[in-house]
Symmetry: C3
Subunit: 354 residues, 3 copies
Amino acid sequence: MTDEGIFLRNSWYVAAWNHELIDGKKLARTILERPVVVYRGGSGKVVALDDRCCHRAAPLSMGRIEGDDIRCMYHGMKFDPGGKCIQIPGQEKIPPKLGVRSYPCVERYNLIWIWMGDAEKADPNLIVDYPPLADSKWRGLPGYMHYRANWLLIVDNLSDFAHLAFVHTHTLGGSEEYAYKTKPVAIEKLDDGFRVERWHMNADPPPYHCKVIPNRTDKIDRRNIGRMLIPGIFLLDTMFAPAGQGAERGVQVPGTRQYRNAQFMTPETRSSTHFFWNYLHDFDLENPNISLSLRHSLEEAFMEDKAIIEAQQKVFDADPNYQLLAIGADAALTYFRWALARRIEAERNAARAA
Amino acid sequence: MTDEGIFLRNSWYVAAWNHELIDGKKLARTILERPVVVYRGGSGKVVALDDRCCHRAAPLSMGRIEGDDIRCMYHGMKFDPGGKCIQIPGQEKIPPKLGVRSYPCVERYNLIWIWMGDAEKADPNLIVDYPPLADSKWRGLPGYMHYRANWLLIVDNLSDFAHLAFVHTHTLGGSEEYAYKTKPVAIEKLDDGFRVERWHMNADPPPYHCKVIPNRTDKIDRRNIGRMLIPGIFLLDTMFAPAGQGAERGVQVPGTRQYRNAQFMTPETRSSTHFFWNYLHDFDLENPNISLSLRHSLEEAFMEDKAIIEAQQKVFDADPNYQLLAIGADAALTYFRWALARRIEAERNAARAA
Amino acid sequence: MTDEGIFLRNSWYVAAWNHELIDGKKLARTILERPVVVYRGGSGKVVALDDRCCHRAAPLSMGRIEGDDIRCMYHGMKFDPGGKCIQIPGQEKIPPKLGVRSYPCVERYNLIWIWMGDAEKADPNLIVDYPPLADSKWRGLPGYMHYRANWLLIVDNLSDFAHLAFVHTHTLGGSEEYAYKTKPVAIEKLDDGFRVERWHMNADPPPYHCKVIPNRTDKIDRRNIGRMLIPGIFLLDTMFAPAGQGAERGVQVPGTRQYRNAQFMTPETRSSTHFFWNYLHDFDLENPNISLSLRHSLEEAFMEDKAIIEAQQKVFDADPNYQLLAIGADAALTYFRWALARRIEAERNAARAA
């Protein structure tokens, strides 16, 4: 079974939250069906290597960090951060070809970004820019979940917010009305994904928001602006403004509260996904219970998604040829899948030409 | 992997006992390797649909029953009992091709019968007739078991009652003598299976029978008449008559007790089976402990079968080409497998011609 | 999936310790991907048969031992130690072809040896000779472990003792120095494997040895002589002599202690292994705690091996084409794999010619 045509390789993926590397952790994580070990070396540098010793395939994640290097604890071979073998106990000469693959890594926004494709193309400027993740005006608690589902099923889920009405009625949605009364204002096609805006006017605040505000019965105008970006990054700006005061015309209504939400879908395999997220708020920053409450609410909602998305995956596992039928609301996800497929195709063609 | 040639599709299968549908249960059950949701609508009608929303493949069994309809709780699409999509929240026009497959269903004998093949051929008159299941002179408690084994291994098991001697010595059989001293009187080939009759004269009553009769030491003449019918239905009439009084010549001997037993093997997949059964008695009907005792005895015995049949399946899983060698007692099962294969072949030829 | 070219069939393998057959145990064990039942008959004879009744494939290990015969407890067919069917309840004539395969078996050194290939070639004289296993001057407790790994990964492990330094630092190794300061004196190629000798001079005694000796701080000269034999048998003679008194020149140094260690790797499948072992000592024979301590120490060390070897297997499961790069220390394992492959090739050619 080959993965050709399944994944985009020349792209930055989130490999981990940086808090996952504390205390000398050698994090073993499969990414795009390749086993990777990620660790922080003694100098602070983050290293990502193929998690298989080139000698007898023992996992380096069972090894020992020595400075910025790592030693395989089967026969003691030592590798530098570039993957080069620099010591073989009991052997003086080290053949130059001995080594493991090293993956470019960047630490940004408390995330470890990894590049699984051609290392020469790994330009850190290509990492998505999302300032709230690094801005002290925003606060949140980072989360991780593992999905037994293809990452595009999660992308699909996030591409149509009508699901809030039915999947998340009692958590994020608030009522089934959201599906009937609201629509995307516009779906803007981007080179690397899409942007969608959706308003729900004069609505009850949804349950997760109620838990962190004082006036739970006041009507609100709710605006969601989402961007879905290749290879699988979802950035959502949410605003709850007191209803009927012109928020939709750009009025800065007093009492408005905002959220910033970043979600990163990194394929583990073609049928499982690493899901990283943070849900940030810009109010009551001195009260840590706000972040905790939002973290719990979102986790509860993501478990609702997980149940239905993993059920979808089982349907496809049982019948890989099952044909879906599109509805109008699928425009966004259809475009995204098309744009991603075009990028994968271009990458494959370039590789064949080279 | 295709299922062509594995299953007979144009045939009634038992999908469930009707008590499995109480309280608005949306029963998710795979039948002939197809995922099906079965539910009772508000009007009392029983509905069976493909358990995959046509939109994004979410299971309808995770949905919500609304009257006789069912709503997918991912994006809110609603389907009528015929499988037609009748609502898409947020979208006015519904393309006529939107819908899921609906399977003909009939409720009879407290069983839900399903037709997995060509719906136009689903004639309820083809459902097997077994009056004791609907006759108040007979009483029993319905049972269900799941087998990790191909359904024909269970058919085989029931096709040769010599196994009572060895598998069920201490439950249904009574002694190993049953295998040595008794033989099928005749095996009658039917168009849709076979009929077999077997007598055990002047025998001790077997343990399960002893538990529900007063005189446990009196010898009996035991008669079993079994019919095995396509696609996998076993109907067994059992009589225990006081020994030596001419039961084998048709004499109605006072003190005779009778049982009627129906077993339905519905393939879940090619290597797993839904097994439905009821063991009915015609005596002491006012005493509910008789049914309970028989239910427990039979369940105990079926667990003995399950152990050996699932062990067989594991042998074939490990070596699908393992060749069996027939003995004389295999005439019945050999004929049944041949008759079923002929029916499947005919169905396939008809499908190709059409 | 065929096993052709994977296993050497014409060879003696260890099927069990004989204590595994007490109390009429019908041991079900897969060997070289064939299901086998092993039992001791009433006469004391050890029998090994294909663990699938020739009739309907029910496991004979669910059957009943009758004298030296075994009866299938599905329909009661009885087989003699040669695998011939000698009774079918309810049937007088037994077709001569009815029977199951019987495997030659020999009980020696408290081990049950089995021959999975051509029975005519099963010469008991081909069983490896290792006198300490049958010599009352040596004492030990037999052990068994199950590996989810190809047996050659265990062979590899035992072929390079540098791993003692890193995998077994705190159990069998004692320090990482062992990998840097010691080398095989010579690797002697044998027709059926190799012999290797390795010295560690003036070393601290390793932890497992310390636990069974009085003077734990005295330096020792440590000698290991290992033989690895086809199909996967490792015989290790270990000597700890007080340091600096000429043990390496053959001097019989007072206070020297010796161990004899036999390990038998029998493939269960191509990715799992039965591992039998005994670690024998020649001192303090009257003290049973010595054997117990060694048994516990070795088991602890073998768990260290198991963790890393099963991790290797997972790497190969995920990527069967992963290419290894050899180092100098791989000479022994490379030769063994080559010699075994040559034997398998010869066996295959002979089979094709015949």
